[in-house]
């Protein structure tokens, strides 16, 4: 088992068009680091120069926004599902 990450369309150019990828358990920080290792270049789209998640990127662990959890230090474990979703408008 591992952590399942759902990759949004705009980022699939980094993942050879895979819509889901697997990473090891840890935290959102380690997830981003591992994604960058697997798919060099992807973290530019996810984090800013200071290493913070970009503010138009929403990250959900098992459907819960990490800003309601522990932010980038939110733990992720085997079997969890992580969605990375660009902010979208509505009304």
């Amino acid at each position: 088992m591992a952590v399942n990450v759902l990759v949004p369309t705009p980022l699939r150019k980094f993942t050879n068009n895979q819509d889901t990828v697997l990473v090891a358990p840890g935290t959102i920080v380690s997830l981003v680091a591992e994604l960058e290792q697997q798919f060099p270049g992807i973290n530019k789209s996810l984090t800013d120069d200071s290493g913070e998640l970009r503010r138009f990127i929403n990250v959900y662990v098992n459907e819960e926004d990490i800003r309601f959890l522990e932010g980038k230090n939110t733990p992720i474990k085997d079997g969890d599902s992580v969605s990375i979703i660009p902010a979208i408008a509505g009304g």
Binding site: P8, T9, R55, R67, P86, A87, A89, G90
Partner: protein
């Protein structure tokens, strides 16, 4: 704004359109789809008011009532948007939907006799409309259509039960904190506003401000607008009216300045929120004696009160 988005959908060759909505976009996308001959999939939170749901089903759209709040509906749509080849009005057609709402700004200037107002108060959900009204006014100015230029201050209005944008502005915060919405103003109950930063930026650069109101104040706002202007607005309008009242009490408007309050929705759509709160009917018998007796009661003698 939907007319603009669906025109682009046709141009791009889509036959199916979709949207995530707090109800009003739903009505509009469904109606324009019917007229334009598109298949429509509309995603709404499950707890929307009847009026909005009926006003979407009526047009023959497929309505998916999602067991979650708007932000969850939105997340699902982002995932679905990746999977199906649909024209999502608020995802892949977003720039056109957004710019479509600049016409609100155009109409304000036109109806004021080609002038920009001093202040505009706008209810915020995802945070798009407020910046597009401002953009519309400024575009007209660049075209030389506005007498005296645009020095309009923009104000954001939200319900206290869902106030990520107004809270950030009032606390001078750089980033907003998403919230889990809990308010009768469901049209604007978006806890994680995609255009929140744009809204904050618009308010700040225009020199405006923001405020938020309680559930009771929302009802008071609906009542006040009805009893002074003869307009029945939905809960979002109640928010805007009451926020305008608060801003006025803070001394933000001079007596001779032009203040525009954006009333963005019809009250018949959110009747659940006000049932039993706007007054009562008087039951009488179909005869003059009964009418006479009723007219002599204290309530009817007091006349219409605000």
């Amino acid at each position: 704004m939907v007319a603009c988005a669906l025109t682009k959908a046709r141009e791009f060759g889509y036959d199916t359109v979709a949207c995530a909505s707090t109800g009003n976009l739903a009505n509009s996308v469904a109606a324009h789809s019917a007229e334009g001959g598109f298949r429509a999939y509309i995603f709404i939170p499950h707890d929307l008011e009847q009026g909005k749901v009926l006003g979407t089903l009526l047009y023959g759209a497929n309505v998916l009532s999602v067991n979650g709040n708007y932000d969850e509906v939105n997340r699902l749509c982002a995932e679905a948007g990746d999977k199906y080849g649909w024209a999502f009005v608020n995802i892949n057609l977003r720039p056109f939907y957004g710019d479509g709402s600049k016409s609100f700004g155009y109409e304000i200037a036109e109806q004021l006799g080609w002038k920009a107002p001093d202040h505009v108060i706008v209810p915020c959900a995802g945070g798009s409309l407020i910046s597009k009204i401002y953009k519309g006014l400024n575009e007209f100015d660049r075209l030389g259509l506005i007498d005296g230029g645009v020095s309009t201050k923009m104000y954001a209005a939200q319900a206290k039960g869902c106030s990520p944008i107004t809270t950030a502005i009032k606390t001078n915060a750089e980033v907003f904190r998403p919230q889990k919405p809990n308010t009768i103003a469901k049209s604007i109950a978006i806890g994680n506003p995609a255009d929140g930063y744009m809204a904050m930026d618009t308010v700040r650069k225009s020199g405006g401000w923001a405020d938020d109101v309680t559930e009771e104040e929302i009802i008071d706002g609906i009542r006040l607008l009805g009893r002074t202007e003869g307009i029945f607005t939905e809960t979002a309008g109640g928010v805007t009216v009451s926020v305008a009242k608060k801003l006025a009490a803070q001394g933000r408007f001079k007596p001779d300045e032009i203040v525009v309050i954006a009333i963005t929705g019809n009250g018949l759509k959110t009747q659940e929120a006000v049932v039993g709160k706007l007054g009562e009917t008087f039951g009488i018998q179909p005869n003059l004696a009964s009418l006479e007796a009723a007219l002599n009661t204290e309530k009817l003698l007091a006349g219409v009160g605000v």
